[in-house]
């Protein structure tokens, strides 16, 4: 080693020491981690982006796929869930999911979001205000609940939906979020879920499937024309989902750093690949590339890359996208018809299947270098980097989630059915939910 190199290194070490010293001193001075304005800027923007995914994103994506007489009722579901979940999250959801507690559930220190001031931070997001972290996570809870509506479109009572979602948020979403992200046992077991493949998509997809089965098929299913009334709305919805998903995935880095950048890059690549995969599959099988197909494929890609973003590289993303596009196409067309359930807008076919594909392939393509941190100095490798056990770990995460959400959702649906009745009456289903439930129509 030459003297120059040596000096260079030495200078590096010394220089490296200066900021450490300053930072250390600052930490002493303030007795808490400093808020980074760059990180905060990105997380404020991300929160806006994720909110936009539900309203108007999911509202339009779903609203365009139903018959005209149900379009207002469908967008109403997303909008009302946004409001309801926001309040419940503020009251009790956030504290149970994201404050210190047991491996099973969080604590009660933030009931009604009390105790927050302008400088509070959470240990889960040390460089941004805790207010931002709490609202950012709120938008995840919102969209998860809104996604379920796709499975029950055209036939569920509005009051029953609100009651079900209230229970479901607290009893299903909150615990699972805690298990994976809030210091719970799944996170501790090494389950990788960067932005919510398990917590959000498998969870919502399976709950939707159960709800579709409990509610039964739509009147006229396979007999009458139930074609989407205006796919332009759905295209707008899918587009805003895509755009907003940058906040979802890159925002899950909780910083405006290289990991956020990588998460955004793989999101874009997987989404595009899945959309093309669905489009070309359909083009081959059904002779025409449909608009509903390509946007469904895009959403499938977004779903599948969600757990993997932040862990995989562009090449892995390309494969994840292609696989998700083909499998979700198959699930939403062949599998659904073969099994005969009526998941109206394919909440399970896209989010359930897409989430499972993504969660598994995260275990395959994870790049250890991307998840290096103080706590985990070597990062978590996937199968391709020689760690086949990660696939197993992912399977455990999937399994626990599927069983828990499946069973509890079923129980909750039965309870709500007993209290209010889940399904609208025949006249309402025939004349449209818009007029009967909300007293309004699109003219």
């Amino acid at each position: 080693m030459s003297v120059a190199t040596l000096l260079n290194r030495l200078a590096g070490v010394l220089a490296g020491f200066v900021p450490v010293l300053l930072a250390g001193a600052a930490a002493l001075a303030a007795d808490k981690p400093a808020i980074d304005h760059g990180d905060t800027a990105w997380m404020l923007a991300s929160t806006a982006l994720v909110l936009m995914m539900t309203i108007p994103g999911v509202a339009l994506f779903y609203g365009g796929m139903v018959r005209k007489m149900n379009v207002l009722a469908t967008v109403m579901q997303s909008f009302a869930i946004t409001c309801l979940v926001s309040v419940l999250w503020m009251v009790i959801g956030y504290t149970l999911a994201f404050t210190e507690g047991s491996p099973v559930i969080g604590g009660l220190t933030r009931v009604f979001m009390r105790g927050l001031d302008l400088t509070t931070t959470s240990s889960l997001a040390p460089t941004i205000p805790e207010t931002v972290y709490a609202i950012y996570q709120m938008t995840f809870a919102i969209i998860t609940c809104a996604l379920i509506c796709g499975a029950v479109a055209d036939r569920m009572r509005f009051s029953a939906l609100l009651l079900f979602i209230s229970f479901w948020l607290i009893l299903v979403y909150v615990p699972i979020a805690h298990w994976v992200w809030g210091g719970g046992f799944l996170g501790a077991a090494g389950v990788l879920d960067f932005a919510g493949g398990t917590v959000v998509h498998i969870n919502a997809g399976v709950a939707g499937l159960v709800a579709a089965l409990v509610l039964g098929k739509r009147r006229g299913y396979k007999v009458e024309n139930l074609a989407p009334h205006n796919l332009v709305l759905s295209v707008v919805g899918a587009s805003l989902l895509w755009v907003g998903w940058f906040g979802f995935n890159a925002g899950s880095a909780v910083a405006a750093d290289g990991r956020a950048g990588m998460a955004m890059a793989v999101t874009q690549i997987a989404t595009a690949a899945a959309a093309l995969a669905w489009m070309f599959s359909e083009w081959m099988v059904q002779s025409k590339p449909s608009v509903l197909g390509i946007i469904s494929g895009a959403v499938a890609g977004l779903v599948a890359i969600t757990p993997a973003s932040g862990f995989v590289a562009p090449g892995g993303a390309l494969v994840i996208g292609l696989v998700a596009g083909v499998l979700c196409f198959w699930a939403s067309t062949s599998l659904k018809n073969a099994l005969g359930y009526d998941d109206s807008l394919d909440a399970f076919g896209v989010h359930g299947i897409g989430g499972i594909v993504g969660a598994l392939l995260t275990g395959v393509f994870a790049v250890a270098a991307f998840s290096v941190s103080a706590d985990s100095p070597e990062g978590t490798a996937g199968l391709l980097e020689g760690n086949p056990r990660q696939v197993l770990t992912q399977l455990i995460g999937i399994g626990v989630t599927v069983v828990y959400t499946g069973v509890v959702s079923l129980i909750l649906l039965k309870i709500v059915d007993a209290i209010l009745g889940l399904r609208v009456d025949q006249e309402t289903e025939r004349e449209g939910l818009d007029l009967r439930l909300h007293g309004e129509t699109v003219h």
Binding site: M69, G220, V223, E224, N225, E427, R430, E431, L435, R436, G439, E440, T441
Partner: protein, 112 residues
């Protein structure tokens, strides 16, 4: 020839079309209409302004047939469109004194 004009509930359209197809009818024309009748609509209230929605969505079918078919067409529609509930709709019969197929210039029965 007769034109049978039927006002039916929208979700019955596919059933009616099939019923007519089994009778050998090869063409018909459909429009979206709004019906006012014994079946009362809901009240829509927008920010305190009430509008009684006296008009409900219906579908109008117009089908021109030779005189001999008219009776069975009316019967077919009546059966297929019936739900037994108020608002099921009406069927009217109108005389048609000429018919032309635009593509070929064929007229009357040949045109249908």
């Amino acid at each position: 020839m007769k034109m049978i004009m039927a006002i039916i509930k929208p979700f019955k359209l596919d059933e009616v079309r099939e019923a007519l197809t089994t009778l050998g009818i090869q063409g018909l024309t459909v429009s979206e209409v709004k019906g006012f009748g014994r079946q009362k609509g809901q009240t829509e209230i927008y920010r305190g302004a009430e509008y009684s929605v006296s008009f409900l969505p219906k579908v109008k079918i117009e089908v021109v047939v030779t005189d001999d078919l008219a009776e069975s067409v009316i019967e077919g529609i009546q059966k297929a469109a019936n739900t037994g509930r108020i608002g099921d709709g009406k069927i009217f019969m109108i005389d048609i004194s000429a018919a032309v197929r635009i593509r070929t210039g064929e007229t009357n029965a040949d045109a249908l």
